[in-house]
Each structure stands twice: as C-alpha cells, then as structure tokens.
C-alpha cells in the first residue's frame, strides 16, 4: 500500500490531543500493517479529539491521524467528510447547533432562527448552525452548544430563547445541562422508568438500593440457557423499530460458531422526535450497563460497545461514570460478581449521522469506515462487528432485560397485549400540555396517552399525530382509539417505530413539517444507492413545488410521480432510510389531504 501522508504537520496541540487517544507515537513505524489495521476503529475517536481540541479537523491533524493508523488519507478524508459534526475547514471554536426539526418547529424554532439570522452575525469566535433533531424534543426549542478547547465543552440547551442564544454565543456562559421533565415521577407500576428521577444516577449504591444488579445475580444463577429461555418466552421484540424478537437474536449469537462475539448497544437515537433512550441513559445509566453485562454473559461475548450519538454529552458523562463505577466494584472487568467471566464496555460516539443508527452502518462506523449500510443477509448475528457474531440492540430493548431476568417471562407478560407484551416508552412532544417520556403498557389507546400528557395545549383536539418519527406516518383526527400495540398499528398500516408521538393541532401548518421531513432524508441519506441518494432529492423538490402550489404539469401528475418515487425508494433502496423516506409524506397526502388545499 502506497501512502502519501498529507504534508502539513499537525500543530502541537493537535498532536497532543490525538496522542491522548492513540497513545504516544512509536519511535519507529510498527512495520506491521495488520496491527495498524486492527486499530482503525480508533479513527472516529481520534477525529473527535482533533475536532474537540481546535474546532475542526485540519489537514495536518487528518494527515497525522492517517499516518498513525495507516489509513490512506483519501479514505480518512472520506470518513471525516461523512459526518456532520466534523468540520474540515477552519471554524470558530464555539458553535451553537440550533434544532429546526419537527418538535422544535412546532415550538417556534423558525422565528427563533429568523431572529438569530438578523441578530447573530458569525464572528471569529462563534458561529451557529441549523441542526436536525437533537433528541431534546420535550424541551423544544433546543440547541447544542459546543466549544473546542481543553477540555472541550458540550452542553444541551433546552427551552432556547433568542436572549439565551445570544448570551451563549457572546459570552460562552457556562451552561448546565437541563434535566428532563419526568411527568410520571413517583407513579406505581413503572418498569423502565422506575428509578428515573428517584435515584442518584451517579451512585452505584443508590442504584443497588433500588433493586439494581439483582437481575445480573439471577442471570448468573440461572445461566445463559435460563436467560435465553426467559427472554424468548417474554416475547420481547426490539424497540429500535425493526420489531425483531430479542430472544431469537441472542440465541443465534449464543449458538454461532465464530469467536469472539460482541454486544453492541444502539444508542444513536436520531429519529426526529425520539428522546426516550436519552432519558434512560441519563437517569438510569447503571441499568444499561447491567443489561449489557447480562447480554455478554448470555451470548458469550467479552466486549460490549455503546454507540452513542454525539449530541448526548450528559448521557456520555453518566455512562462513562457508571462504567467506571461498575468496573471499580467488580461488576465489569476480568471477573464479574466474582465469577470467572469477563465483560468490558466501551463507549463510541457518533459524529452526526442519522444513518449510523442503521445497524450495519453503525458497525461500519465503529470500525472506522463511512457509515454506509450494507445489504443483508448476512445479518449481524452472523457477520457483525469486526466480522464476528454480534448482538445489536436498542437501549430501551436492553433495559427491558433486567426486569425479565429478575421477575421472569410470565411477570413480564402480565401487562401489554398477547402480541405485544410489556410496556413501551412513548416520546410525546408537540402541542401537548406535558411533553415527555411516558411508559405505558403496549396496547394503550393513543387518546389515553395524549390525555396522560395533559391533552392538547389550550384544550383543543389533536388535528394529526405523527407516529414513529420522520420514518413513520401521520394519522388523522379519527385515530384516538388506535391501540398502540405492534399488531394494532400494523393492522392500521402505521408503525410505532421508535415510540414517537408528535401531536399537532390546527394551529400548526402541516406542509412545512412535510418539507422538513423531506429535507431530513435528503440531508441524511448516506448517498450509496440511487433510489435514495437521488430519490430523496427529487422528493424534496416535489414537496417544495407542491407546497408553493407550483406543480410542473398538474397536481395529479405530480402526486402520481411522488407515489411512484415512494414505491421505488421503498422497494429498491439498500436500507431502511431510503425504504421509509416517503412514508410520512405519503401518509399525509393520503390521510390528511396535504397539498390539495387551494387546488381546484
């Protein structure tokens, strides 16, 4: 392999920041190409180090990282330029990423951004950018503040106002992370949220005093076979959107002949409108650590990774702390609870790419490649992380496991429906009185969930609800009786997806939301396959034309074209991103009559 490194050297601070991740440079090159290749998974952490230190990835920094990891510079550039949060040209050290996505739009983000455009001209010190959903929808309008330096500052900002935004940009005032609203705090019957808000998320003792780590003890008693039996019988299906039975996934990995095996937690949570995993990780980080440990012991994996979206600094902080505490107390490491079994967990941060939530893209991203999904089969249970059998599960899915192991499948099935046992976290946002995460039995009617959230703001009725996020679909006024179970939603031709319930009333214009959704898919397409790469652009153009009432030809023809395009994106795209990119727009046309108003 012929590698020509970028010629500019890194600055001393860049070199130090990168060395802090990669270790000091060896005196002489390792000479072993294989050993460097085995370290390619450090590419994203190294890029984060450079970006976090000086605010962008300079040619010198990229060249140095590529030399250290023996990654061809063109490939390193290809990887860095894939992610929205890596800047490859000099940028001011401070940045405010202002969300202009669905829930924030409903909460007035557009006028906030208009004001910012007038009042906050970029300077050498700071800049602001628009951002897709930051997973803070219950605190809309929201933003993420970042400032490069040692240490770098990263803070989520909820309830953003113009004054607050200007003050942040001007003074870089220290921001404290907002604590989420926990509307069900203290309610009985909570499983996933039982500890949220009631225990100190930084205290392992407090966690254990509230039932933590009983499940791991029980898992060690009943052994992998016992855990798998309970899990299969529980009927738990994945909460990441694809509805795959978790027990069968774990069994497949436990039986796979290849070693080593891995456990990966999908904490990329980037579906617009979704924030449940954030609340779990921030409020009950030990639960996830415990669940992953159970997964590791059950499927015979010794290493676990949490792939966490970069926009969740508080979750990163609390999980890092929880992992360190668990390790210090013998709950992680070369032995677990005194048994001769090993398990370790590492956190890997994404860098601003929705598509990296798709499981194969996520694995590619951890390995140091562009987050491009690949065709399945083979599935990750056979060919997963580093080509090895891998369990990959959503945060909420994993957090169901301790309850199942501790109380058994029958207890788990005591709530929910036969086809959808257990509870589910719903991310309620938009025009409701009390937005937030709600844990309710699967099968709860939509109307009841909205009522639990205080009903529509100001007492009106919902005009429409977006279920499942940008990749989901809209339902209309008549859907309040819809039971939120997997089977009922499937029957109604909709999906629970990641649990998004974005409530709209008549005060919210629908079409700008459709335009935002179309823009989202265009911006987040990885660009690999034609139906999605070009299709999402054509969809946005069509939605824009229709929104302006400027169809080419006639409305009927444009709607037919949009439908054909939707079918082909669904049918011929590689991954779920392209396959669902038209779902919300199509549902709004079908069920809500979008784009027809004002046409004869």
């Amino acid at each position: 392999m012929d590698l020509r490194a970028l010629e500019a050297p890194p600055t001393d601070v860049e070199r130090a920041a990168i060395d802090a991740v990669l270790g000091p440079a060896p005196e002489a090159p390792s000479g072993s190409w294989l050993s460097a290749k085995a370290r390619r998974h450090l590419l994203l952490p190294a890029l984060h180090a450079a970006q976090g230190r000086v605010g962008f990835v300079s040619p010198g920094a990229l060249g140095y990282i590529c030399t250290r990891l023996e990654v061809p510079p063109a490939e390193g550039f290809g990887v860095a330029s894939f992610y929205a949060l890596f800047a490859l040209a000099a940028r001011p050290p401070a940045a405010l990423h202002v969300c202009d996505d669905l829930a924030c739009k409903v909460a007035g983000a557009d006028s906030l951004i208009d004001d910012l455009t007038c009042r906050a001209s970029p300077s050498d010190e700071h800049a602001w950018h628009r951002s897709p959903c930051l997973g803070l929808c219950e605190q809309a309008p929201a933003a993420l503040y970042t400032r490069a330096g040692a240490p770098a500052v990263e803070r989520a900002v909820g309830g953003l106002t113009l004054e607050r935004a200007l003050a942040l940009l001007r003074t870089g005032e220290s921001v404290t992370a907002p604590e989420p609203a926990l509307p069900q705090l203290g309610e009985p019957g909570l499983r996933l949220l039982a500890r949220a808000g009631r225990v100190d998320p930084t205290s392992l003792d407090d966690h254990r005093a509230h039932g933590g780590y009983r499940a791991l003890r029980r898992a060690l008693e009943i052994g992998p076979g016992g855990v798998l039996r309970e899990l299969v019988e529980s009927g738990l299906v994945g909460r990441g959107g694809a509805l795959f039975p978790t027990g069968r996934k774990w069994e497949a990995v436990a039986k796979a002949p290849a070693r080593p095996r891995y456990v990966v937690c999908n904490a990329d949570e980037s579906e617009p409108g979704t924030f449940k995993d954030r609340v779990l990780m921030e409020q009950d980080p030990f639960a996830l650590v415990e669940a992953m440990t159970i997964a590791g012991l059950t499927v015979g994996a010794e290493r676990g990774f949490i792939y966490l979206r970069a926009e969740y600094p508080l979750a990163a902080e609390r999980l890092t702390h929880a992992i360190a505490q668990a390790r210090a107390r013998g709950l992680l490491g070369p032995t677990v609870m005194g048994r001769e079994v090993a398990f370790e967990i590492e956190i890997r941060r994404g860098a601003g790419a929705y598509v990296c939530g798709e499981e194969t893209a996520l694995l590619a991203s951890i390995e140091g490649y562009r987050g491009e999904p690949r065709s399945k089969p083979p599935f990750p249970v056979e060919v997963g992380l580093f080509g090895k059998p891998t369990v990959i599960n959503n945060v909420e899915t994993l957090c169901n496991v301790p309850f199942i192991v501790e109380h058994g499948a029958a207890a788990y099935r005591s709530v929910g429906t036969a086809g959808s046992p257990g509870t589910r976290l719903f991310c309620v946002s938009g025009r409701v009185e009390r937005p937030g995460v709600y844990e309710l039995p699967l099968g709860t009617p939509l109307g009841e969930l909205i009522a639990r959230a205080g009903g529509v703001k100001g007492g009106g009725a919902p005009a429409a609800v977006l279920l499942g996020g940008a990749a989901g679909s809209f339902v209309g006024r008549g859907s309040l009786d819809l039971r939120l179970s997997f089977e009922d939603t499937r029957h109604a031709g909709v999906t629970l997806g990641s649990g998004v319930v974005l409530v709209l009333d008549d005060s919210v214009p629908l079409e700008p939301l459709l335009a935002r959704i179309a823009a989202f898919f265009r911006d987040e397409s990885c660009g690999q396959c034609v139906p999605c790469r070009v299709g999402t652009v054509r969809q946005e153009e069509l939605v824009t034309r229709l929104g302006k009432r400027e169809p080419l030809g006639g409305l009927a023809g444009e709607l037919a074209l949009l439908r054909e395009l939707g079918q082909v994106m669904r049918d011929a795209s590689i991954c779920g991103l392209g396959q669902t990119a038209s779902s919300a727009v199509e549902s709004a046309i079908e069920r809500l009559g979008a784009f027809r108003e004002g046409e004869s």
């Binding site: 020509r4 061809p72 063109a74 599935f379 054509r538």
Partner: protein
C-alpha cells in the same frame, strides 16, 4: 432471519427464475443464475473483476417472500428461491432508477446506461428541467448534513466543470453515477493505491482525493485502472477528451489492435485504439487472465510519448 451455515462448496442450488428452473453452484449470485438462463439483467455498478457494491440498484429482481426487491448482482442464491426478473414491480424500479440517474447525471458518454434508459422507457424529464450547474469547487465545499434550499423549478444535477489537473486523464464528475468502481479499482480490488475515495454524503457524495488535492499531489500513480472500469466516461483519457471537445472523436473510424506490452516481462495484453493513424487510448480486455483489465502507467499511457 436466516442463518447460513457453511456447506460443502461444490453443492448445486436449484432456483426458479421467471418460471424456469436453473441449477447453479452454491455461492453464485442471482445474476449468475439469470445469465445462465440467458436472461439479460441490466447492471451498472457490477463488474466481474470487482467486489459487488450493489449501489446502482438497476439489477433488482423480485424474490418471492422478500419484503423488498433484491440486487441480483450480489444476492446469493438460496435453494428454492422463486424469482421474477420482469414483473411490473421490477420494471417500475428499473425505470425509476434510470430516470433518477438520467435526470441527475450526464450520460452522454455512457452508451450502456443510455440503452437502459431506452429499454425501460425512462422519462427523466418528468422531474423537470435541470437546474444550473455547480461552479468549480462548489460541490466540494458542501458539508455533510448542511441543508440547502432546493433550487426551484426543476431537477438538481451533479453538473460541474471538468477537472483537468494532469496530462493523462480528466475527471468529469458531471458524468459520475457514483458506482464506486474506480474506488475499488484504485484500492484493494486491483491497484492498492487508495488515491481516491468516496467523500461527503448523500447527493453531495463524490469521488475525491484527500481535501480534494489535485491528482498529481495525491497518491495517484496514474495506472489508469479507474478509467478502465468507469462505465460513464467520467474518467477519460485526456486524448479522448480533447478530440471529443473538438468534435473529432469518431468511434466508427477507430480500429482496435491487441498487442502485448513491451515495457516489462509481465506480458499484459493491451488493446490500442487508433483513429486516423493515431493512438487515442489503450485498454486491456477485462477477461484477460494476465491483467483482468488492469494495467500500469506505462501500458496505459506510455504510447502517448511513442507515436506509432
């Protein structure tokens, strides 16, 4: 989820395609099976000498029981598969894929792709007139995830000025359909130079060197293997580019002569293309056992200095 266990490599697998049974060795692709039956499946990003990337999606077929269509170029046969290659669904997908490509990419030097546009009755103009081309450097300056308002009234394209930064070949990415073939040929599949990679994301994804430096400043060794695999003429010999620009490129006047390269002892087969007594480009047959279609700078471009 199906779990595939490794079986004896010589096993034959029986599948049904368009109602006809066919038996192919395990590990074969649906495309192999189609070809065995003489079914002509369109492909753009597939090449026998490169790892399948299955990105263009023009080769999709319908497999009974599958939720979506599947790319025949990479999907392995499984016993009992029932496949349709010419259903309504398949034809719609292929037509739309060609409409999406033809409305965004300049296919003027891509006869194969143009033939698929014809064959499936694609009407790219349904998406409206092309919006203005990007200025030099504009696409390279776009950042992943950063939204731009769509230009109004038509269809955005990848049109942009051609990159001429060396005397041997030009890169006209207005013609690039992002098949990944050049990246594969430059990388592990042939050349092992890794001078180019896919950079950026989504519609702004593009083939690039690190920080878009000109090729002579990159790791490129000018083997031209990327030109050899490019299906659209986006990568083109400088000589061909100049003749085309002057309106003098005429394939009907050209003759092809196979010869063995005399620079070294490997014995690569080279096809010299001559027009009016002048060599205008050199290729190597893809099925050549020596080259697999790949050459080095001397075989590919050496004639440029030694006129016949």
């Amino acid at each position: 989820m199906t779990v595939h266990l490794p079986l004896a490599p010589t096993r034959a697998v029986e599948v049904s395609i368009d109602g006809r049974p066919v038996s192919v060795p395990e590990g074969a692709t649906l495309l192999d099976a189609c070809r065995k039956l003489g079914i002509d499946v369109p492909t753009l990003c597939h090449a026998p000498n490169l790892t399948p990337m299955n990105v263009c999606r023009v080769c999709v077929v319908e497999v009974e029981g599958a939720r979506t269509l599947v790319p025949s170029c990479s999907r392995k046969v499984e016993a009992g598969m029932v496949v349709k290659t010419d259903s309504e669904r398949v034809r719609l997908a292929r037509r739309l894929v060609m409409e999406l490509l033809a409305s965004s990419v300049d296919l003027s030097t891509a006869p194969e792709a143009r033939a698929f546009v014809e064959r499936y009755g694609a009407r790219p103009e349904r998406f409206g007139p092309a919006t203005p081309a990007a200025a030099a450097g504009e696409r390279e300056g776009r950042r992943a995830g950063q939204h731009r308002e769509p230009p109004s009234g038509g269809a955005e394209t990848v049109a942009q000025p051609v990159k001429i930064d060396n005397e041997l070949f030009v890169r006209d990415y207005a013609k690039c359909l992002l098949c990944y073939k050049c990246v594969e040929a430059c990388g592990a599949d042939a050349q092992n130079t890794f001078a180019i990679a896919v950079a950026g994301r989504g519609f702004d994804a593009r083939i690039a060197t690190e920080f878009d430096v000109p090729l002579p400043e990159s790791a490129c060794v000018f083997c031209g293997n990327c030109i050899g695999v490019c299906p659209t003429g986006a990568l083109m010999f400088h000589s061909e580019h100049v003749l085309r620009a002057a309106g003098q490129w005429d394939e009907t006047e050209q003759t092809k002569t196979d010869t063995v390269c005399s620079y070294c002892g490997v014995g690569c087969v080279i096809t010299l293309h001559t027009q009016r007594g002048q060599i205008v480009k050199a290729t190597s047959p893809h099925d050549s056992e020596v080259t697999n279609g790949h050459l080095c700078i001397k075989g590919r471009f050496g004639w440029g200095y030694v006129r016949p």
